[in-house]
């Protein structure tokens, strides 16, 4: 959204001095590999198997979606839905039948043709009764998939589903070949602009430009290497030493200053789908009481929390991304007011507050916000004890067994307000009113009416103070200034390289 340049920081005189010292060539230089159309992309997390149908990790989609694989539709950089492997689609008036027309003549990287039987194969792989896809619930509304001819496929739904088109545009629904799907975890084969070349586990994944891609002429990069570097200090060193050209999702805001001080790199702050919340166990102890949750909401000082993220975050008042067209600002639902918070807590029978656990996953934003929240809630007498968990422990203890009072986590999926309508979800929020309301959202296929319903849903969740709504995570993109076409925002997990090139 905003591009920070170094000019303001060092001043023109300083810049001129550097110019005089090193000559113009040393400034804003592309690395030598740029001549060969090669780029090295740094990532914090390494993906497991490279099959987005069968593995939930965001890193799998970041590498494969729009690069190796394509879906029927695709999510564009602004979060809209545009045609992908399907040139277009028609929807029946009752919203139950979708007919997709495929691009003719598309071939997989192994030379096999991609036709409507593969679409049926993939959608069945995601939604059939015996399917073991992590995203199965996204495709639960599919009743049947019919092959009409080689390039026409008809999907019939059990009920109208206003999210269906979005969901088939996701990386989860990457269309795979019937012959290659079984081995796609280790040797991914898709229809996208890049071919899988090599994987060095623990180190890198390398892709090369696909000669058979239907718009091959528009692809400017020849070789793409994704390099996995977990430690933030090592990430910075790799960038500054020129070993890596970009970190599209840099995770350590406190270290951004060091990259900004180097003229070769641009730091671009964009938006993500990550609502960061103080997830609250509504089914346990004092938190069952609406007044207690309201008190917590009044005690949150989002300004400090955003400052804790070095300013690379936007305050939220509900579980909805601020950059979405249907967003309503609800940050003033329970404005920061310690006196009011204390009174609500006293009314609920906790004049001296209470003790509770705060179980944190091993991610930077949770660590930073955790410390701040201990202090903020401490001011109204809620004494939080921090426990650090590894992700697998967090999944088991917090998410599955619901053995927690509070945790901090960013929900990064799109359209995830639906979690508040789920039975047995880890927040323990159980509201018939919200469930009925959300069912109406899903059924409503008229965009204008749906927008009204979605806005009301945000307000219901905010009013019930289900969780502490903290901030929308920012996407800190760092890249060499000579590299153009990188996504500024992250509407869906993808490092789309089809439009990226060296100047």
């Amino acid at each position: 959204m905003t591009i920070f340049t170094r000019r303001g920081a060092i001043g023109l005189t300083g810049a001129a001095g550097v110019l005089a010292l090193f000559g113009e060539g040393a400034l804003a230089q592309a690395p030598a590999r740029a001549k060969d159309g090669a780029v090295v992309i740094g990532m914090s997390l390494e993906p497991p198997v490279l099959d987005p149908n069968l593995n939930a990790a965001a890193a799998v989609r970041e590498i494969t979606y729009l690069n190796i694989y394509e879906s029927l539709a695709r999510i564009d950089p602004r979060g809209g839905i545009i045609p992908g492997l399907a040139t277009g689609w028609t929807v029946s008036p009752d919203g139950l039948e979708y007919v997709f027309k495929l691009v003719p003549g598309v071939k997989y990287h192994d030379g096999e043709p991609c036709d409507s039987a593969d679409v049926k194969f993939t959608l069945d792989r995601l939604s059939a009764p015996d399917a073991t896809a992590p995203g199965k619930s996204l495709y639960a509304s599919i009743k049947s998939v019919e092959v009409i001819d080689a390039t026409t496929v008809k999907v019939t739904l059990k009920n109208p589903d206003s999210f269906f088109l979005y969901n088939v545009a996701l990386g989860d629904a990457s269309i795979m070949g019937r012959k290659s799907a079984a081995t796609n975890g280790t040797k991914p084969i898709g229809t996208g602009p890049f071919v899988f070349k090599e994987r060095k586990e623990g180190d890198s994944v390398t892709l090369a430009k696909s000669p058979t891609y239907r718009h091959a002429a528009s692809i400017r990069l020849n070789t793409v290497t994704f390099k996995f570097i977990r430690d933030p200090a090592a990430q910075i060193n790799a960038l500054l030493a020129g070993d890596v050209d970009t970190f599209p999702g840099f995770q350590a805001p406190e270290l951004v200053g060091r990259v900004r001080a180097d003229n070769r790199f641009a730091v671009v702050i964009g938006s993500t789908m990550g609502e960061t919340i103080l997830a609250t166990n509504n089914g346990r102890g004092p938190m069952k009481d609406l007044r207690v949750r309201q008190a917590i909401a009044h005690a949150l000082n989002r300004e400090d929390l955003v400052a804790g993220e070095s300013g690379f975050a936007l305050p939220i008042g509900s579980h909805f991304p601020p950059h979405d067209a249907d967003h309503v600002d609800l940050t003033k639902t329970y404005p920061f007011d310690i006196a009011k918070a204390k009174k609500l807590l006293a009314d609920a029978g906790h004049p001296n507050g209470f003790e509770a656990s705060l179980k944190l996953p091993p991610v930077g934003y949770a660590q930073r916000s955790g410390e701040i929240l201990v202090s903020q809630l401490g001011k109204i007498g809620i004494k939080l004890t921090i426990t650090q968990l590894q992700w697998p422990q967090w999944l088991a203890e917090v998410f599955k067994e619901r053995n927690y009072d509070f945790t901090i986590v960013a929900h990064t999926e799109a359209n995830d307000l639906d979690r508040y309508a789920r039975d047995g979800y880890y927040w323990g929020y159980d509201s018939k009113a919200f469930k009925d309301h959300w069912a109406a959202v899903v059924r409503e296929t008229d965009p204008a009416k749906r927008a009204v319903l979605i806005k009301a849903a945000q307000k219901m969740v905010a009013d019930d103070a289900v969780n502490g709504f903290l901030f929308q995570l920012g996407k800190i993109g760092v890249w060499n200034r000579q590299l153009v076409g990188m996504w500024e925002n992250s509407p869906t997990p993808s490092i789309d390289l089809s439009g990226v090139s060296w100047k």
Partner: protein, 315 residues
């Protein structure tokens, strides 16, 4: 001596078997469901159950333990849950990074620490001795991740003499691979040098007090020969012992150093596998490491026998 070595070998094998049992039990009670880690928060219970069955977690524990051991006997380590590739390939790929890294660090440590320790012992109580001991204290205190970052900042980011991290592989250019391992090996060896130098110094000092040293000096043997031939050789047993122990510590150090220099080594594989709950990888690596430590200990016993060939009395 042969009997002594055979007995040590048998003890090692029994220890290894016990270790495998301990590893298996510890991983059984480790919190976290590998299937959930893989499928994430949106997976349904039936999907999780299906994946657990695919991994074989639904079978009884004794059966799983025995099939693991049976697999080990025919060198079949199974497939990694996270990567879908054979565990033996994963470990093999990592060993070609970590073994040379450890060997480089240990060689470097020995080459520097032994002369340094002997030198300090020969200058006991003089400024040179204090200097070496001061360096030793510093080397032990400096955390190797910090030293690694410092080396990387200086020699990779500023001077550009070395890459900041990563490993290019041994082919096509082995020199590039060695080049990539220099900084990590340096940061790994710092503490080793410090410890080894101190042990060498005190061990040499101890032997210098022995009667045979006085005799040698009285015979007119030059001081240099006294130090190298008489004192150092007899001081070597404690040094070799500590050196062997340090080889074990190298693995722990490698986890940190490989993270700082993003080397795809065994240490990083251990770290990632624990985070991914890739249990099949963890248990095989831990057993492999146990095997390595036992082998090193066994080799140390052999070296003892060579250094001190007096017949062993049964313990």
């Amino acid at each position: 001596m042969l009997e002594f070595l055979l007995r040590r070998l048998a003890t090692s094998l029994v220890t290894l078997l016990l270790a495998s049992l301990v590893v298996f039990v510890v991983l059984e009670v480790l919190p976290g469901d590998p299937a959930q880690v893989m499928l994430g928060t949106e997976a349904r219970p039936d999907t999780l159950a299906a994946l657990r069955a695919k991994f074989g977690f639904d079978r009884p524990a004794p059966e799983r333990y025995l099939s693991w051991i049976a697999g080990l006997l025919v060198f079949d380590l199974g497939l990694s849950h996270a990567y879908g590739t054979p565990v033996s390939k994963l470990i093999g790929d990592r060993l070609v990074v970590t073994l040379p890294l450890g060997a480089m660090a240990l060689t470097w440590a020995t080459c520097v620490a032994l002369p340094l320790g002997v030198f300090a012992a020969s200058r006991r109580g003089r400024p040179a001795d204090w200097l070496v001991m001061g360096f030793g204290q510093l080397g032990i205190s400096i955390p190797n991740f910090w030293f690694g970052i410092l080396l990387s900042l200086t020699f990779a980011v500023s001077l550009r003499w070395f890459p900041a991290g990563g490993f290019p592989g041994w082919s096509p250019d082995p020199l590039k691979a060695v080049h990539a391992l220099v900084l990590p090996a340096l940061s790994l060896s710092l503490a080793e040098i410090a410890i080894l130098a101190r042990v060498t110094r005190s061990s040499v000092l101890d032997t210098l007090r022995e009667d045979y040293i006085r005799t040698a000096r009285a015979k007119g043997v030059p001081e240099r020969a006294v130090l190298m031939r008489h004192a150092l050789r007899n001081a070597l047993i404690p040094i070799v012992t500590v050196g062997g122990l340090l080889a074990g510590f190298l693995v722990a150090g490698a986890i940190i150093v490989e993270t700082v220099f993003y080397l795809p080594g065994l240490g990083k594989l251990v770290f990632d596998s624990i985070n991914n709950r890739d249990l099949i990888v963890i248990k095989n690596i831990v057993l492999l490491l146990t095997g390595c430590v036992l082998t090193v200990n066994f080799l140390i016993d052999v070296v003892y026998a060579l250094l001190d060939p007096r017949p062993k009395v049964s313990a």
